[in-house]
């Protein structure tokens, strides 16, 4: 079942197209990656989903119903450019933001107590925001985003400003939220975390979606048919060209590209006849590679047009 459906959304800013016929569907309980270079239109799309701006045409469905401003109660949004009132105390501020989301004082207090204990930051409650470091403030912002237990969470570059330990903790929390059934839209430039977290992605460039689908399928479809084989002795084959071959600690590492159409199993069988195979693995392109090549391709097409 799809939690969010974006159908053919168009948005124009003073003659410039920010989004041109963008459609995507986000299945419930998954992490969805929204990727794209700066200025591609991601933030505009996120703002439309948050009812901050309205699309010129097209429609947004949340749980099958047309999105209305009332639905912001069920959405949590952590913007990329985020801040807090510097002079306000952490606890007071978290309460304020929670109440603006429509939580009662009682519920907000309970939820805040739970999360502050979980993140072990109870002692910050009476501190002013200006006394916190950037990473500390980010933690508070993360809590205020998820506090009202929304169905849809939108994170825009959530890991910026976090040290690796806290980034890892955050990742675990995001996955825990997904396992609980929360749907998450995740906008980032960090492709490693996309591979790690996202099930599906949309790559936006110049107001258009240039790549969309399941992460595993996308990577498989972008396969350059490159294989890495570790073996006891050098391997060779007619059906492939060898890119490199090294001996590392008495083991031969060969990377090769298939030139003939054949299944990995058949190819492995052929190699097994030659020598002892320690490992056999297909090298799928990283999301980073796919991102760069796709964006470059579309830009070339655009410049040719």
């Amino acid at each position: 079942m799809n939690l969010l459906e974006v159908n053919n959304v168009v948005k124009q800013y003073s003659g410039q197209l920010a989004l041109d016929g963008v459609s995507l569907t986000v299945p419930k309980g998954t992490v969805y990656g929204l990727l794209g270079p700066n200025g591609a239109g991601k933030t505009t799309l996120i703002r439309i989903i948050n009812c901050i701006t309205a699309p010129d045409s097209g429609e947004i469905l949340l749980s099958g119903k047309k999105l209305s401003p009332k639905d912001v109660r069920n959405i949590g949004y952590l913007p990329e450019e985020r801040g807090l009132y510097k002079k306000m105390k952490v606890g007071e501020q978290a309460m304020y933001l929670a109440q603006l989301k429509g939580m009662t004082k009682h519920d907000a207090t309970k939820a805040l107590k739970y999360w502050f204990e979980k993140f072990e930051i109870q002692s910050w409650w009476n501190k002013k925001v200006e006394e916190l470091s950037k990473g500390m403030a980010q933690k508070v912002q993360f809590i205020t985003t998820i506090l009202h237990d929304p169905d849809l969470l939108i994170f825009d570059e959530p890991f910026s400003g976090f040290d690796p330990v806290n980034a890892d903790m955050l990742k675990k929390e995001i996955l825990a939220l997904r396992d609980k059934g929360t749907t998450i839209i995740f906008s980032t430039h960090n492709m490693e975390s996309v591979e790690e977290l996202c099930e599906n992605i949309s790559l936006v460039n110049k107001a258009h979606i240039v790549l969309q689908g399941n992460v595993a399928e996308i990577r498989a479809s972008h396969s350059t048919r490159t294989l890495l084989v570790r073996s006891a002795a050098p391997v060779t084959s007619d059906s492939c060209e060898i890119i490199s071959q090294n001996k590392v600690n008495g083991v031969f590492e060969t990377s090769l590209r298939k030139i003939k159409e054949m299944s990995n199993n058949d190819f492995l069988t052929e190699l097994m006849k030659q020598t002892e195979i320690h490992s056999f693995e297909e090298l799928l392109p990283t999301m980073n590679d796919i991102f760069i090549s796709t964006v470059k391709n579309t830009e070339n097409i655009n410049s040719r047009l």
Partner: protein, 443 residues
């Protein structure tokens, strides 16, 4: 509570709890009372030491004129003036030496007062008064006309011009043009100060939210218009709180001070005193200058419609504030930093400044064309109308001016909302007036 209520509460409490607000609110009435009370208090302190004045009268004719009383003792001496110059001959309780060398009716400057310390004005005028009276009596006697003194006394007259206003039914109201003007000017200045200071508070508040990027977080929960109105209303309440606290504290402090000072400034006492001292009887009851002045003020205050002025003050204060505050909010949302605000707030501060000048000129000619038009134009009316109010502006003019003001602030708020909505999410873009106009037309 509604979302806008939550925002108003935060804007209000975060400002009212600030130390600067508390200081300003509690110190200003103290200053205000001190400014009025200290000079009055100082003038009421009476010097109760007895002044001993040595009189060296070469003519010997002023012995009768200089009569000692409880504050001032005249001691006649024949010793030469130089005797008193020398320290060893000075008596410790001697205040001054009055030295008369010739007949003053013929030679008015033949009198001098010598002293070590500056002789105060009161003593000097007391002595010269005594001498002048005596000389005048002497001169009158020289004419040899019987009862001349009484005739002259009767011919003297002191004018007391009172201004009386006729209201619609022709009833008379005693009023003081000067006082009405003062009250009008004070309320005009108050509105001016409130619009300027609270308007720029709205602007910097919006700008802070924008630069700290908290606004991105908040507008995913509330509509930008709600956020803007919450801020404007919250700050308006701060202004009203300050205004009423000022009035209440000024009243409390002045009541406290006057009871401490023996009730001499108690309004009721003065009013009853005034009722007893009807004209004609006034001469019989001794009255000090200050008392007379204060009584006068209270009389004219009776002819002044405080309730109407207060209600209209609040209407014009709120109307003017809402008109400007929403525009200030729009500017705060459109710019990226403090320095840009100055450039863009110019078109707002100029009409406010103009209004205060127009108010000063309108005070001189409250029914002139400048006063009339400026009290209808919404950008100046809150300030100019306050000055005109004491001069009995026709009701239809007030109604029309308030009506235009209300329509205008609805209009500016609507416009500001449009600019604000786009502006708060726009970063790093140098805005121009053309750009702002474009934002107005966005869907």
């Amino acid at each position: 509570m509604t979302k806008i209520g939550i925002i108003i509460r935060r804007e209000y409490s975060s400002r009212v709890m600030k130390k600067s607000f508390l200081l300003l609110t509690f110190l200003t009435p103290l200053l205000f009372v001190a400014m009025i009370m200290i000079p009055l208090w100082l003038s009421s302190i009476e010097d109760d030491t007895i002044k001993n004045i040595i009189v060296i009268d070469k003519t010997g004719i002023y012995h009768d004129a200089l009569k000692s009383n409880e504050t001032c003792t005249f001691l006649f001496s024949d010793a030469p003036l130089d005797n008193y110059k020398r320290t060893e001959n000075k008596k410790s309780d001697m205040t001054a030496v009055l030295y008369i060398t010739a007949d003053l009716s013929k030679q008015p400057d033949a009198v001098k007062i010598y002293s070590e310390k500056q002789v105060n004005v009161e003593l000097k005028s007391y002595i010269s008064g005594l001498l002048e009276d005596y000389i005048q009596k002497q001169n009158l006697n020289a004419y040899n006309i019987p009862n001349l003194k009484e005739v002259v006394e009767k011919s003297k007259t002191k004018l007391d011009v009172k201004t009386i206003k006729w209201d619609a039914e022709g009833k008379e109201k005693e009023a003081s043009a000067e006082l009405a003007l003062i009250i009008g000017m004070i309320s005009a200045f108050l509105i001016y100060i409130f619009i300027m200071s609270y308007g720029s508070q709205v602007m910097s508040g919006v700008l802070q939210e924008k630069t700290s990027r908290i606004v991105e977080v908040i507008i995913s929960s509330v509509k930008p218009f709600e956020l803007m109105m919450g801020k404007i209303i919250g700050i308006a309440l701060v202004g009203l709180t300050q205004f009423f606290l000022w009035i209440a504290l000024t009243l409390i402090i002045s009541a406290g001070v006057s009871s401490f000072m023996g009730g001499s400034f108690n309004p009721e006492a003065l009013q009853t005193a005034q009722q007893i001292n009807m004209p004609g009887m006034q001469t019989n009851v001794p009255q000090t200058e200050t008392q007379a002045m204060i009584t006068d003020i209270y009389t004219s205050l009776n002819g002044f419609d405080f309730f109407k002025t207060l209600v209209l003050f609040i209407i014009y204060f709120l109307g003017g504030y809402l008109l400007y505050a929403s525009l200030f909010a729009a500017i705060g949302s459109a710019v990226d930093n403090e320095t840009d605000t100055q450039q863009f707030s110019m078109p707002l501060t100029i009409p406010i400044l103009f209004a205060i000048y127009a108010a000063i000129y309108s005070a001189q000619n409250p029914d002139g064309p400048l006063a009339f038009w400026c009290s209808l134009i919404p950008f100046t009316s809150p300030i100019v109308m306050m000055v005109r109010l004491p001069f009995d502006v026709p009701a239809w003019e007030i109604a029309l001016s308030v009506f235009i003001l209300i329509l205008s602030f609805i209009g500016t708020t609507w416009m500001a909302g449009k600019i604000y909505r786009t502006g708060i999410l726009m970063y790093g873009k140098k805005v121009s007036w053309k750009e702002l106009w474009k934002w107005l037309t966005y869907k």
